[in-house]
Amino acid sequence: MTMNPTNASLSGSMQSPRSQSSQPFLSVSVTDPVKLGNGVQAYISYRVITQTNFPDYQGPEKIVIRRYSDFVWLHDRLFEKYKGIFIPPLPEKSAVEKFRFSAEFIEMRRQALDIFINRIASHHELQQSEDLRTFLQADEEAMERFRAQESGIFKKKPSDLMQIFKDVQSKVSDVVLGKEKPVEESTPEYEKMKHYIFELENHLAEAQKHAYRLVKRHRELGQSLSDFGKAVKLLGDCEGNALGKAFSELGAKSETLSIKLQKEQAYQILMNFEEPLKDYVRAVQSIKATIAERANAFRRQCELAETMKLKEINLDKLTLTRSDKVAEAQHEYNELKVESEQAAQTFETIVRLMNEEMVRFQEQKTKDMGIAFHEFAKGQARLANGIADAWRSLIPKLESCSSS
């Protein structure tokens, strides 16, 4: 089970099984990616290990095999059921074919899925979810059945979601520009929050872009050092004598550092800095989805309220004319009233949850970023010191060359 520090603090899960065994805990890890299947059908499966003392769970430990689409299932179910809560984001769905099975990509995805599931497991509402239990406990065949069932009924197509985003976005800008539309909620605080979220995504995306470039730069510098080292060594062979040896050693050092840069540091930045930033962007996008849901709920509430008014007027009219349709109309009206109240309730819940979630989100992100910055800075310092040490070790040799 790989619980690196990044993981632990990110999820904030109560996960030390040995201490406080009376306290409820739910700890999950996603491990051991294995490629299954052939050709186009090939996919990666993961071992999902759950350790818990939750009453409904098969404890203390249960292991299941899951694949990416199972995680997607879980995400979509939670999104449907827990409107108002910022569902933890999933790593991207598709990747360029040839990259899909590279070790790097697989590890990045594994890490992201591990973080995903742990965030759910440590969210006080989401962790109660039945779907989560199914995901963590059901055997593989059952899981497949569940997955197949849901695709068609509840699953929102990505294009639908996109359309909603676009609507929300345009509406936000409309409001920001002062073009008020009656069917949108527009309290100043909420407007501010929406504006913040949309702007934040842009800023983060840019930071992430540069972080990714930085990874590339490390690789490129590594390559240059390697080539330079080789060339210097060849030059040393030409010179012979002490100077030649100095060249050779310098060349060798250059090649060593190249490995440090290319393999180690670039990878570290990718995993512990760039990926958290990407994760941050995804989280913001998840919030946007929730914003869209809230808009839907608001609209529904308004529509129902409108419809209710009309029905009320109609009902009164019918009552006055002593029509025999009164009973029916009354019945309809009552049903509508219930629906309307439900819609209002739904909407209010979303509002309340969102406010709570925002607080959680901001705190979580501050922590996540703090860790990411720390790891990045530590890595850079380590690298720089390594570079300094490596080059410094050559100085005595060079010194002795000049005196001879």
Binding site: L214, L221, M369, G370, F373, L394, I395, L398
Partner: protein, 563 residues
Amino acid sequence: MMDSEDQGVEEAHLYASKEEMENLVLDDPLSSKSYSNYRSAVSTLSDNQHPLSPSIAVTPADSDPLLAPPHYGEFGNPSAPDNSYIDPPSYGDAIFSPFNENNGNDVNVVDSPSQSSGSSPSFSRSSSGSEYLKITVSNPVKEQETSNSFVPGSNTYVTYLITTRTNIPDFGASEFSVRRRFRDIVTLSDRLAESYRGFFIPPRPDKSIVESQVMQKQEFVEQRRVALEKYLRRLAAHPVIMKSDEFKAFLQVQGKLPLPTTTDVTSRVLDGAAKLPKQLLGDSVIAPNEVVQPAKGGRDFMRLLKEFKQSMVNDWGSSKPPVAEEDKEFLEKKEKLQELELQIANASRQAESLVKSQQDMGETMGELGLAFIKLTKFENEEAVLNSQRVRATDMKSLATGAVKASRFHRELNAQTVKHLDTLHEYLGLMLAVHGAFSDRSSALLTVQTLISELSSLQSRAEKLEAASSKIFGGDKSRISKLEELKETIRITEDAQHVATREYERIKENNRTELERLDRERQADFLNMLKGFVVNQVGYAEKIADVWTKVAEDTSRYVNDDST
């Protein structure tokens, strides 16, 4: 890719707050020019240092670097953004103080900034410790040809001010200036090539075949100025040439350059044409005074032909040439040098790509920093919760670190360019070596030709003698012919002696120059390595410090202390 990165930096300038921008000053010439071209990286260095020189109060040699760290791009020093290009070498020196004793041999110490045009490892090393010859090229001025041109403004050219500072008594003065134009450089170079055969004479800057409009553009003129200065400094670094009459005349004599131009020398084409009929009749003679120079076109038509014939005999003939390059040591050396040249060229190429990578690293790091500065500003402005403010502070810490590190990366690179430039310099020197070796082989060819000539003349004379001795009383016409022939033989013998002496002289020049090359190359390369390494160490440490601080600032997020 370069465009979008530049754009990113520009955009960032729009967003970042004014106060932050003053402190950042990332829009320096080095980043916006084509950094992928190593050469232009070097030349833009020199671009930077001219406008900056007045603001640098302290030369590296004088300042105590430990007191002067504020120069290194710390915030709050907006007035001297590019100071950093001058200072850091001495920082590295002082901390590691390994090799700064060498009198000006130290490639890290840039000559007094007001003079420096950012060129190369100081090749003003002197062979005898205290000699000093420092040349500066400056102040390009457009001048008009006062000739009989009907089209006004068509004959403009540029002159440069050549200032020399020296303590060498031969010059008779310690500081003086002249104005010279590019044509004068060509003349100097040609005359030196003639007088100093066998020496490794640094190659002069190329003549450029461009339109006159381009000739006058500032960038072109500046490039040329830099090239001229480098060339003259290399000449000044050559222990023999620096004291040559030609060089002295060039540096000192006011007004018109008192050296014969190449057109003067080859205008003996007319002489050559007059000689031609006589040459074609087969009675040509290679005069002793001419053999000290290789055969040139025009006047030396016959000689060229003969030497060509000889070279054919050398290559394809069945017998060994009369005198051959037998110096095994020389041949071995030559081969080694060829290999060396190959490797230097290769290393030079890889150095270019290393420099580019370092440059890119610095730039991207800077862009990352700017992106986070924008985020910081954004979070601060929009903050509703305290967690946002805390995050903004953390982001600022990271951003500051990234920007500082970016600056260090780019300073590191500027210095790396200077050090690794040694490789480039030696490539240029290899050209000089080729020149010297070809002086040798052409001199050898002349000797071989004369020896062949001599032997054929002598056999003709023998034949003539034998024939005329058969006739009783002598054959008046044959006897006079024999006299002429004997005269020709004498002259040719003289020529052969002169040519042989010349060949030996050139061989000796080759030998001493090779020794000097080895010695100086060892020293220069060693300095280059040291400079490179010390530079890397110095900056890596500074960068490590920057990031250590950021790690400390954010250490509360992580409980463990795993390294």
